[in-house]
Structure formats: structure tokens, C-alpha cells
């Protein structure tokens, strides 16, 4: 991912499945995260992001497949693994009866590498009052307090589950993204889940897209943007066969003018399009949002 990249993956998930009753939350998911950089995990609500993250943290035991973090199984080696990572949960369930100072002092006891100076700097940067009780904090302040605790021991891996929920756009951009970038720039790794596509696109080096419990795409962000195209075509006759074009992910519009989001071999796409008496009106790079939409709605696309 960057100059500090080593061969050993920080996270290695292999063939993990998870079912909640009749609902399949994770379906044979495999992915690896290498050291350094920011991996943006993106998916709609209920796509399986949080379930996947909980497997990485060892909060869910892999019933099938394996999960390794820093080369260790996070369930039997929870102390070793959790001591090296920082986690901000979606729930922000910090102890409500503690003050910010008490929360910092409490958390400090668990992490030998706690940097008290850095923690104080973060507290000031996040404008958290030391005597403020956790229960009195707003959603945004709770996220900041959680982020402070997750960051202050300078973890090798920072796991942020929907960190932006409850944060206003200014805080999101000025604090969260800046912090995430600075952590990544220090050679550490960030796993960042969100359903805010613009945020993922701004912060991430790598992206992983999830839909219906499956990992539908994992690649460097620039590669994802480069390989997906948005093509507007005109056909002489109305047809529904455009979905059969090589690399076509979604097709919308009609009856004669269609917009196709596609990736893969451009020449093969164009050759087959000409076979249908089609003409390319416009071709440009697809936006991240279009790619996401194309990928996560892939099995049931009937967009006419």
C-alpha cells in the first residue's frame, strides 16, 4: 500500500460465514489487509460490515473459516491482538458514568504504549472538557471521546466502525479524516467502515465493497476508479440485451439511449456493442457512487 508495506497481512480473513437465524450475514468472505494505508469498507445497511469487523476484533468467533490479525487468532489471543489495535464502535458505548479524564485514566491502564501527551493533545484538539461526564456528551463528542481512546496508545491497526455517524460535516472533514490520514501516513493501518461514499472516496487507499454478506470488490481505490467506465450508448432498436455486454454491470435509461456502467475489456465491449448496431455517445470514468451502486445492486439490476 505504501513504502512501509510488508508481506505479512495485518488482517487475513478466509472463508468466513456467519448466520443470524435464517439471515446470512457473511457468506464465505475472504480478504486481506496489508500493513499501512486506509482500507474503506463500504456497504449498505445490513451488508455485513459490522459483523466482519466483529470477527476481526474477536467479538465473534469464526464458526467456519479462519480470522487472523497480526498473524494471531483474535479469540484465544485477545489480549495480544486487542492491545495492538484501537477500536471505535458504531454504538459509542463508553461508560456513561465516567468523566472524560476518568475514561482516559481508565483506558490508560490497559495499554502499555499509552501516550499521555498525545492523549491530552487529542483532547484539546477535539475540544472535550476534562470534567464532562460521558453521559452528557453529544453524539459527535462521544465519537471524539471514543476516537481519543482508540488513538492514544498509537495502535498498529485502527478499526473505525461507522465513525461518521452523528458527526456533522465539518467535524467529519476537519477531525476524522485528518486524523485517519495522519495515522495512515505514519505507516499504521486503518480499517474504516462507512456508508458515506464520498467520505470513503476521500480517505481510503483501498476499498472493499460489501453487499448481502458478500465481499463484491476489493482493490486499490485508484484502480477501482480507473477500471470502471460510464458509457452512454444509442441503439437503433430498443433492446434489453445490453446487460449481456462484456463487463456491463448496470444498465439504465431507454428505450434507445442507455447508460451502462461497466468494467473489464473495453474493446470487447465496443465490438459487441457495434454488433447490436450501437453507437457510443459519451464515455467517461464512473464516479465512486455509480460504481458502488452498480456493484451492490448487481444480482437484481432491472433499472430501466
Amino acid at each position: 500500500m505504501n513504502a512501509n508495506t510488508t508481506n505479512e497481512p495485518v488482517i487475513a480473513v478466509n472463508n468466513v460465514c456467519r448466520r443470524y437465524g435464517s439471515k446470512l450475514a457473511l457468506a464465505d468472505v475472504s480478504f486481506t489487509v496489508r500493513r499501512g494505508g486506509v482500507l474503506g469498507l463500504v456497504g449498505a445497511n445490513g451488508a455485513g460490515k459490522t459483523t466482519l469487523i466483529k470477527h476481526v476484533l474477536g467479538l465473534l468467533r469464526a464458526r467456519t473459516g479462519t480470522v487472523q490479525v497480526f498473524g494471531l487468532d483474535p479469540v484465544p489471543h485477545s489480549v495480544e491482538v486487542l492491545g495492538r489495535l484501537g477500536y471505535l464502535s458504531e454504538d459509542r458505548d463508553l461508560p456513561p458514568w465516567m468523566s472524560v479524564t476518568e475514561l482516559v485514566r481508565y483506558s490508560q491502564a490497559f495499554y502499555p504504549g499509552w501516550d499521555a501527551t498525545y492523549a491530552e493533545k487529542l483532547r484539546q484538539r477535539f475540544q472535550l472538557l476534562p470534567d464532562a461526564r460521558i453521559r452528557t456528551l453529544s453524539n459527535g463528542e462521544l465519537a471524539k471521546a471514543g476516537l481519543l481512546v482508540a488513538l492514544a496508545h498509537r495502535p498498529e491497526l485502527l478499526v473505525l466502525d461507522e465513525p461518521s455517524s452523528g458527526l456533522d460535516p465539518i467535524v467529519r472533514r476537519e477531525i476524522l479524516e485528518a486524523v485517519v490520514r495522519s495515522v495512515a501516513d505514519e505507516g499504521r493501518t486503518v480499517l474504516f467502515s462507512s456508508h458515506l461514499l464520498d467520505e470513503i472516496a476521500r480517505v481510503s487507499d483501498y476499498v472493499a465493497m460489501m453487499a448481502y454478506g458478500r465481499l463484491v470488490l476489493q482493490a486499490p481505490l485508484h484502480e477501482v476508479l480507473e477500471t470502471h467506465r460510464r458509457v452512454v450508448v444509442r441503439l437503433a432498436h430498443a433492446t434489453r440485451d445490453l446487460r449481456q455486454l462484456p463487463g456491463a454491470l448496470t444498465v439504465s435509461g431507454g428505450p434507445n439511449e442507455w447508460t451502462v456502467i461497466c468494467n473489464g475489456n473495453r474493446q470487447a465491449f465496443l465490438d459487441q456493442l457495434h454488433g447490436l448496431n450501437g453507437q457510443v455517445l459519451e464515455e467517461n470514468g464512473a464516479t465512486f457512487e455509480e460504481i458502488f451502486h452498480a456493484r451492490v445492486t448487481l444480482p437484481a439490476t432491472e433499472d430501466q
Binding site: 467479538l59 484465544p76 485477545s78 491482538v81 458514568w97 490497559f110 461526564r133
Partner: protein
């Protein structure tokens, strides 16, 4: 649904879909008992037992209706009852929201009392119908008022209801007031009915305030609780994670426990003092005080056992999280072993148990009823031995279903209560089943098998925890060593073996929890890694 009223009535019935069959079952049980009792010989002991069971079934059916006829309902995240916003935004008059559940509850109570009255005449000899109606009607109004005073604070609601239950349990102890009761009966019934109406009006006012946001949804005691829970000033960093867990998680709970126990003990001492003064006014103050001490020795152990069960339940829940047993993500991702977390809970329990019992042991050491507060004697030995036995039973009941709670799959007050009732029933069954008079004979084989099973299971659980990295060697040694010390104290230091023989000593060893404590690290690990 034709009208909003129909919808609300349907919802109340649906909400009580488990309670209504339970009431019917209790009524059937009462009927069966009444028929059996009628055919029993007049002086048969089992007939009296059946009568008691019948009365308890009636009281249980009354208690079941108190919480059921409110709008409190299960909250998705807490899994315990609170009032959801949807009630507040329904386009119906506030008075309907208050009076409909209350009147439904009263009607059900009336039906219950009417159906039970002929049975009670057989089971209890007589049934004071006006009183039987006035008291539950009043208590139901109290419940309704509490519900509307704490719609957003389920913890407060259940705590007040628990205190109310304690009060109901405590009242029979004041049997010394009974001779004068008949003089006050009519007035009391009038006061109860008047109080009911006042509480209905107060509930309406609170409901209106809640609907327009003028009431915070709970009693303003957050500040006091926060003050009690404050971990105290400490500027030095902690040397270990265990220290931080003890300081921030266990000590605040222990502080609340100590204060509440002191208050309860003072309250009971005050009641004891009143009783002594009213019954023996001719005694000098010093003699009255000795009587109060005697009352304390007799009464406090029973309350201690009850109080410790409540705190055992608290130790199974997350600190300051009401009745939530599942770890929060924040605490589940702290880099500590399950054994360290379990050890904090066990230390908390041991401290609470010691806080309650050690003062009583000290008091008993210097106390002899025959000769006042002077020196040793057979009374003292008997008293100490009896204390040792009660300490054992209370430890057994206090630990109760702790591993089940730490397992984290049981949440909410009703589930917790059910867990504890099952655990308590187990205790009662064990104590009753092994209560042997005279020579135990073949019962020794049963005892030996149970002891072997207990130690075998404990050893297996500890070995498994150690092998899986959930518990350290230090945890294992501390648990086994601590258990051995406490067992030795209960058997030899408190003279159980000397005064009650080897059978009672073996029962102490059997009842003093070990296997359940050994299961705690595995339960915490299962809570954390699902």
C-alpha cells in the same frame, strides 16, 4: 380495530399474553389445593403445607398483576421495560393512557379476588374481602404512578418496584402491630382508597408532563447516583488493568452496596428498637439495647441473604448498565483476559459477603443471650455455628446463576429474576434433600458423589480456562486458595464441625460455591467472543 380504545385494550391483552394464562393456572392450582385441603384430616401437617402454598399462589397472582397493567414495555436495546415514545404520540387523551391500564388492572384484580374468595375461605379460614381489594388496588396505583414518574428510566422503575416488594416482605415481620390492627382497619381501608384516587390524579399529571417534555422521564436522582458511583480522585496512573477494573468497576458498586446495607441495617435496628420499646417498656435502656442486638442477630441474617442475592445479580450485570449482562463493545475490546474481568466480579462478591457477615460474626463472638454481652458459652458456639451455616447458604444463593449471567445471553429484569429463582430453587432443593437427621447412613454415598462431582467439574473448568488462556495460573491459585481458606473458616473457625458434626461440615463444603466460580472465566469469554 374500530376505535383507539379497542386498539389499546387489545395491546394490553397482547402485552399480558403470558400473565393471563399464568393467573388462570394459579387459580386452577388454588382450586385443586382447596379441594384437597377440604378432604384432609383437620390436624394433618401436609394440610397446613397445602394451605400455605395456596395462600402464596394467591399472593403471587396478585403480585403478577401489578407491573402488568402499565404501559411499560420491553425496550429493544435494554431488553427491559420502559415507556416507548410511541405511547406519547398516539392521538388519544392522556387520561385514557393513564386510566385505561389502571382500570383494566383493577377489573382483573376484582375478578381475581372474587374468584379466589371462596378458595381462600377454605385455605385461610377467612377472607377479608374489602382489605383484599383495597390493598392491591392501592399498590396498583402506586405502580402506575412510579411507571409514569420513570417512563425513561427502567432502572429506577425496577429499583422502586424491588423496594416496594421488600416492603411487602418486611410488613409481615411487624406482627406485633396486629393486635391493634382491627381498631384501624376501617380507617386504613379508607386511607388506601383515598390514596388510590390521589395517585391516579398524580399519575395523570405526570403523564401530561411527560407528553409535553416537561418531565425528564425519570426521578432527578441521577446526580446522587453519579455521586455514589464516582470512583474517587486518583491522579496516579494504574499499575495494572486489574487495578483499573477494581477501582472503576468494583469499588463504586461496593460503595453503593455498603451504603444501602447500612441503611437497611439501621432501618431494621430502628424497627427492632420500636418493637422492644413497645413490648418491654419497663426495661432499662441498656437491656433494651441488648434485646435490639438479639433481634439484629436473628433478623439481619435473613435480610443479609436476600440483599446478597440482589448484589449477586448486580455482579452478573455490566457496571452501571442496569440489567444488561452483555458486554459493551468498549469493554469487550479492552485487552484483558476473561479471567481478569471475572476476578473483579468475584472480588466484588467476596467483599460484599464479608462486609455483611464479618460484623455479625464479631457481634456473635461477644454475645451470649443467657448472660448478656459477656464471655463464651454454649449459646455463643451455637450462634456462631448457625451463622456459619447461614453464611454458607447465603454464599451459595448469592453466587446463584452467576456464570449464566456472565455468559451474557440473559438480559432484562424478568430473565434475571427467573434465573435467580431457578438458582434459589436449586439451593432450597439441595438443602432440603440433604437435611438428614440422625445417622446419615447411605446418604454419605450421595454426599461423596456430589462432592466428587463438584471438585471434578471445578478442576475441569479451571484446567480448560487455563489451557485456553482465559485464566492465568494466578487466578487459578487465588480462587482455589481463597475458597479453601473460606471453607476452613466456616468449618473450623466457626465451630460447625464441633457443634453440628461432620455431616453439616460436609454440607458446608458442598454448598460453598466453587464450580460456578470456576466457570466464570469461560462464561466471560463466551460473552465476549460470541
Amino acid at each position: 380495530m374500530r376505535t383507539a380504545l379497542h386498539a389499546l385494550v387489545w395491546e394490553l391483552v397482547w402485552k399480558n399474553r403470558a400473565v393471563i394464562p399464568a393467573l388462570a393456572l394459579l387459580l386452577i392450582l388454588g382450586g385443586a389445593l382447596a379441594v384437597t385441603v377440604r378432604q384432609a384430616p383437620p390436624d394433618a401437617a401436609w394440610g397446613n403445607d397445602l394451605r400455605s402454598i395456596g395462600v402464596v399462589a394467591f399472593l403471587t397472582s396478585l403480585l403478577l398483576t401489578f407491573g402488568s397493567f402499565t404501559l411499560m414495555e420491553s425496550h429493544s436495546s435494554w431488553r427491559m421495560n420502559s415507556m416507548a415514545t410511541r405511547w406519547f404520540i398516539l392521538p388519544v387523551r392522556t387520561a385514557v393512557l393513564v386510566w385505561l391500564p389502571l382500570v383494566s388492572g383493577w377489573l382483573v384484580t376484582l375478578a381475581l379476588v372474587l374468584l379466589w374468595t371462596p378458595l381462600l375461605r377454605i385455605l385461610a379460614g377467612r377472607a377479608d374481602l374489602p382489605l383484599l381489594l383495597a390493598l392491591p388496588v392501592f399498590l396498583m396505583a402506586v405502580t402506575q404512578t412510579v411507571a409514569w414518574a420513570t417512563p425513561r428510566q427502567p432502572g429506577q422503575y425496577w429499583s422502586i418496584m424491588a423496594l416496594l416488594s421488600v416492603l411487602i416482605v418486611v410488613l409481615p415481620f411487624f406482627s406485633w402491630l396486629l393486635p391493634r390492627w382491627q381498631n384501624w382497619r376501617t380507617v386504613s381501608i379508607g386511607v388506601l382508597l383515598g390514596g388510590t384516587l390521589v395517585l391516579g390524579v398524580v399519575s395523570c399529571a405526570l403523564a401530561r408532563l411527560n407528553r409535553c417534555g416537561d418531565w425528564p422521564g425519570g426521578l432527578p436522582i441521577e446526580g446522587w447516583v453519579a455521586l455514589l458511583r464516582r470512583p474517587g480522585r486518583r491522579t496516579r496512573p494504574f499499575r495494572s488493568a486489574a487495578g483499573a477494573l477494581l477501582w472503576f468497576d468494583a469499588l463504586p458498586v461496593l460503595r453503593v452496596f455498603t451504603l444501602s446495607w447500612l441503611l437497611l441495617a439501621l432501618l431494621l435496628a430502628g424497627c427492632g428498637w420500636l418493637m422492644v420499646v413497645s413490648r418491654r417498656p419497663e426495661l432499662a435502656v441498656a437491656a433494651q439495647l441488648r434485646h435490639v442486638a438479639f433481634v439484629a442477630m436473628e433478623v439481619l441474617p435473613g435480610f443479609a441473604a436476600f440483599w446478597l442475592i440482589v448484589w449477586g445479580m448486580a455482579a452478573g450485570c455490566e457496571p452501571a448498565a442496569g440489567f444488561r449482562t452483555r458486554f459493551s463493545s468498549f469493554r469487550a475490546t479492552l485487552p484483558v483476559t476473561a479471567g481478569t474481568v471475572a476476578a473483579t466480579r468475584l472480588q466484588q462478591l467476596l467483599a460484599a459477603w464479608s462486609l455483611v457477615w464479618l460484623p455479625l460474626v464479631v457481634l456473635a463472638q461477644g454475645y451470649d443471650f443467657g448472660t448478656g454481652l459477656a464471655g463464651p458459652g454454649t449459646h455463643r458456639l451455637t450462634l456462631l455455628s448457625s451463622l456459619g451455616w447461614r453464611m454458607t447458604v447465603s454464599a451459595h444463593a448469592m453466587v446463584g446463576a452467576l456464570p449464566l449471567l456472565l455468559w451474557g445471553r440473559l438480559e432484562g429484569f424478568p430473565t434475571l429474576l427467573l434465573t435467580y429463582i431457578v438458582a434459589w430453587a436449586g439451593t432450597w432443593g439441595l438443602v432440603q434433600g440433604l437435611a438428614v437427621e440422625g445417622d446419615p447412613g447411605w446418604h454419605w454415598w450421595v454426599m461423596a458423589s456430589l462432592l466428587a462431582a463438584k471438585f471434578g467439574v471445578a478442576a475441569w473448568l479451571l484446567a480448560r480456562s487455563y489451557r485456553n488462556g482465559h485464566a492465568s495460573a494466578r487466578f487459578v491459585v487465588s480462587l482455589v486458595g481463597g475458597w479453601a481458606c473460606v471453607a476452613a473458616c466456616l468449618v473450623w473457625v466457626l465451630p460447625t464441625l464441633q457443634t453440628d458434626g461432620t455431616w453439616r461440615a460436609a454440607m458446608v463444603i458442598l454448598l460453598l460455591p466453587l464450580a460456578r466460580l470456576a466457570a466464570c472465566p469461560l462464561a466471560v469469554a463466551a460473552n465476549r467472543h460470541r
